[in-house]
């Protein structure tokens, strides 16, 4: 995957780096500049009256940070928690949010040309939360617009309606 990424790096003029991860059987990727760190899943403190996909909060070096399980929210894969369960800590609009994923695969470079428009259906995520699709080493990678997802009312992580305009 990295070789392909490198090749693309040479050919493309303007390109972005994405972190790809696995949810169930599907490959996803998100803009790497939003990633704060990657860590193992740890015990959370539950929050009363929160939807089931919000697992709770953890202490990230003094910050109380919510943990979201996208597998539950979008009904992909099985929401199991073991030593290999990974949490990607994201920093979106000065807010820190952790998302639970089945695994983190690689960092890929993609240019605008590599991105295909997202399908209207067939993906767990609503298309408004997607940048598009890309083919990386014969895998289809779904590029998630993580900013709009995290700030969406659907996840309900943010109190005010600061939904980001997609694009």
């Amino acid at each position: 995957m990295s070789e392909a990424a490198l090749q693309q790096a040479v050919s493309a003029s303007k390109e972005n780096e994405f972190l790809s991860f696995v949810l169930g059987e599907e490959h996803y990727a998100l803009d790497i500049t939003t990633v704060k760190e990657i860590r193992g899943y740890e015990q959370v403190t539950k929050i009363a009256n929160a939807p089931s996909f919000i697992k709770g909060v953890i202490n990230l070096r003094g910050d109380i940070v919510p943990i979201v399980d996208l597998r539950i929210k979008f009904n992909v894969g099985e929401a199991t928690y073991n030593d290999f369960t990974i949490v990607i800590m994201l920093n979106v609009h000065d807010r820190i949010v952790g998302i639970v994923v089945d695994g983190v695969s690689d960092v890929i470079r993609l240019s605008e040309e590599d991105m295909l428009p997202p399908p209207e259906f067939g993906v767990a995520f609503d298309s408004k939360y997607l940048h598009g699709l890309a083919d990386v080493e014969e895998h289809m990678v779904i590029l998630v617009n993580i900013e709009s997802l995290i700030t969406s009312n659907e996840l309900g992580l943010v109190e005010t309606k600061t939904q980001v305009v997609e694009g």
Partner: protein, 640 residues
């Protein structure tokens, strides 16, 4: 460079604000019949500093006004003109204009030019009318010491020291000494004369310069003298030991830096307790040594935490100091005679609370004067002294601060409150306990139209007062008795960053209940638990208490729901008293409050979160919000 200049502006604005406050305070306490020259000097110096700063930054309007004010003050402190209450009034009005002008410069809005001009005019007129008198007096003193000349020394202005000797000796070798001067402190001839006169016999006695004693040489060594700034002091002998330097004793620090430090120290405390948890597992000789080191670390971290927290603490006087002026203005406007007594002004309280206290306190004090204190005639009729008294008090009780606004006025009018409550459709009976009747005035929209004046209306905005107080984690209590006065007590937490908490366990989770709200905890017997429909209530202390199960409220998986198997903690919030059912008590400890909203959002029933010794997150219960919850959801999730 623009940024740099703006930074200096910020410092100037801050300092000028302080100077204005100081001036106002000094003017308020100034005894018109026998003005303390020392105080007049301080007022003069404050005006002078503002003038200097505004000159540097090109705030001309500010400079012109302070310049005229300074001239008048100069005459006053040299006793060339007699300070009257009229002049004090003029000064106070000028201060108001100065404040407006300063904030206009700060906000970069239009200057109140008309007011400035008017003020300058008034000041100049006062100056002119008083000058005839001043010439005479000045002559009187000049006759004796005609040889004296103006002795103007410009120094660094960092040290406020009394240099009577310099002045006393200056009579023979008066000169104009130019210093390095960022600030100039002017000693005028009449000062020097007054000093010389009073010290004629004693001036040969050593008058030290404090820190610079070895350099205390005769005035001939002009360079030495000029390097040490001087302040004209009228009573040098008395004030001589006051060599301590106020400026050097404090520095300005951005509060965000302190907040960051508070956070970091919080982290340190957590790391330290994690370390001591691990340390307990180490055995043998190494374990012992480790334990010793960890104990040391624990002591040190606690001390760091305390000192960092104390940085945020300020004396409550910062808020109280504005009230002499408020009381003075208001009482003269209303034709009432009111004495303000401030008690416990040195009590320290978190900085963020200080700022948020201003509005509710102002409201309450205005209320007390407007409605509490009667007119002088009525007071005499009622057999009271003509002057009403308003007491502003602050004291620390345990982990809370109690601020009292107490007046000896007419007290709350029970009949009228009840009447109004009935009009508003509230369920009230005349035989309600007084404390409940008084709480009625905090209802939104509870204003008795007959009482509304342009100053305040008891009941107008009282709901806002209570909301403000509650938003900073406090509550308000009222005591009142007809004809004798009323008292409002505001209970506040010491700080917003740390709360004394009772840790309780529910299932596998820990919750923290603020100790402020806890009345007691106990294991209920079967006979104390009554069932009311689907709800459970608790019979204790001769009354029924609603019972809230934390397991159900917080949706914990395997907590205890049977009251007799768990522990009940009785809570008191500003809204309600109720019991909370938990599994067991874990202990009592201070916890650092962390915001949930920063990365998530507000959660009903939760005031915030904290990090426990093992690094896990625990929720801090919000007693008010839980009370509100259990009234809105009576049956399903909460057993009431």
């Amino acid at each position: 460079m623009t940024i740099d200049v703006n930074q200096f502006h910020g410092v100037f604005f801050d300092e000028s604000d302080e100077h204005l406050q100081d001036m106002e305070q000094l003017l308020m306490t100034l005894d018109v019949d026998a003005p303390d020259p020392e105080e007049l000097n301080s007022i003069f110096r404050a005006a002078h500093s503002i003038k200097g700063g505004s000159g540097i930054f090109g705030f001309d309007a500010l400079m012109n006004l302070t310049h005229v004010m300074e001239n008048l003050l100069d005459k006053a402190r040299n006793q060339e003109i007699q300070v009257t209450s009229d002049i004090v009034d003029i000064f106070l009005q000028t201060l108001d204009v100065l404040k407006d002008t300063l904030s206009a410069y700060k906000e970069q809005t239009e200057l109140p030019q008309e007011q400035i001009d008017a003020s300058i005019k008034v000041l100049e007129e006062t100056l002119a009318s008083a000058s005839g008198q001043s010439v005479q007096e000045a002559q009187g003193s000049c006759e004796q010491h005609a040889e004296d000349e103006v002795n103007e020394i410009e120094g660094f202005g960092f040290f406020d020291e009394d240099e009577s000797e310099a002045q006393a000796q200056s009579e023979n070798s008066a000169g104009d000494i130019e210093g390095f001067g960022l600030f100039d402190d002017e000693a005028t001839s009449s000062d020097a004369q007054a000093d010389a006169e009073t010290n004629r016999d004693t001036s040969k006695v050593d008058e030290g310069f404090g820190f610079f004693e070895p350099e205390n040489l005769p005035v001939k060594t002009e360079v030495t003298q000029s390097a040490i700034p001087k302040q004209p002091i009228v009573k040098p002998v008395k004030t001589k030991p006051k060599a301590a330097t106020k400026e050097a004793a404090s520095i300005r620090v951005d509060t965000t830096k302190i907040d960051a430090m508070v956070n970091l120290v919080g982290e340190l405390v957590i790391t330290q307790s994690m370390l001591s948890n691990v340390g307990q597992e180490v055995e043998g000789q190494v374990g012992e040594r480790l334990q010793l080191a960890i104990d040391e670390l624990q002591r040190n971290t606690r001390e760091i935490q305390e000192s960092v927290m104390s940085m945020r603490m300020l004396p409550v006087n910062m808020t109280f100091n504005r009230f002499p002026r408020v009381v003075r203005d208001l009482s003269s406007k209303l034709g009432k005679k009111v004495d303000l007594v401030i008690q416990g002004g040195n009590t320290e309280i978190d900085k963020s609370l200080i700022e948020k206290l201003v509005d509710p306190l102002t409201h309450l004090v205005r209320n007390s004067i407007d409605h509490g204190i009667e007119s002088p005639e009525k007071r005499l009729e009622a057999g009271k002294s003509e002057n009403g008294t308003v007491i502003l008090s602050a004291e620390q009780k345990g982990s809370s601060i109690i601020i009292g606004i107490i007046d000896d006025g007419a007290g709350l009018n029970k009949a009228r409150i009840l009447e109004k409550a009935t009009q508003n459709g509230l369920a009230v009976t005349p035989d309600m306990p007084d404390s409940e009747i008084w709480q009625l005035i905090f209802q939104a929209g509870f204003s008795t139209a007959a009482e509304v004046t342009d100053v305040s209306g008891r009941g107008v905005g009282m709901d806002v007062v209570r909301r403000n107080i509650e938003s900073i984690g406090g509550r308000i209590e009222i005591e009142s008795s007809q004809g004798e006065g009323s008292a409002f007590y505001i209970h506040l937490p010491l700080t917003l960053a740390i709360v004394d908490g009772m840790c309780v366990s529910v299932g596998d989770q820990i919750f923290v209940i603020p100790l402020l709200n806890v009345i007691e905890s106990f294991q209920p017997t079967a006979s104390q638990v009554k069932t009311l429909g689907n709800d459970k209530v608790l019979w204790i202390r001769d009354q029924y208490w609603p019972l809230v199960s934390l397991t159900q409220l917080m949706q914990v998986d395997d907590g205890i729901t049977e009251p007799t198997k768990g522990i009940v903690v009785l809570l008191e919030s500003s809204k309600k008293r109720y019991g909370v059912l938990v599994d067991s008590l874990v202990g009592q400890q201070q916890v650092v409050i962390k915001s949930l909203e920063q990365h998530y959002k507000k959660v009903a029933g939760i005031a915030g979160a904290t990090i426990m010794g093992d690094g896990k997150v625990a929720m801090i219960l919000d007693a008010d919000s839980v009370a509100a919850n259990c009234t809105t959801i009576p049956n399903e999730e909460v057993s009431l």
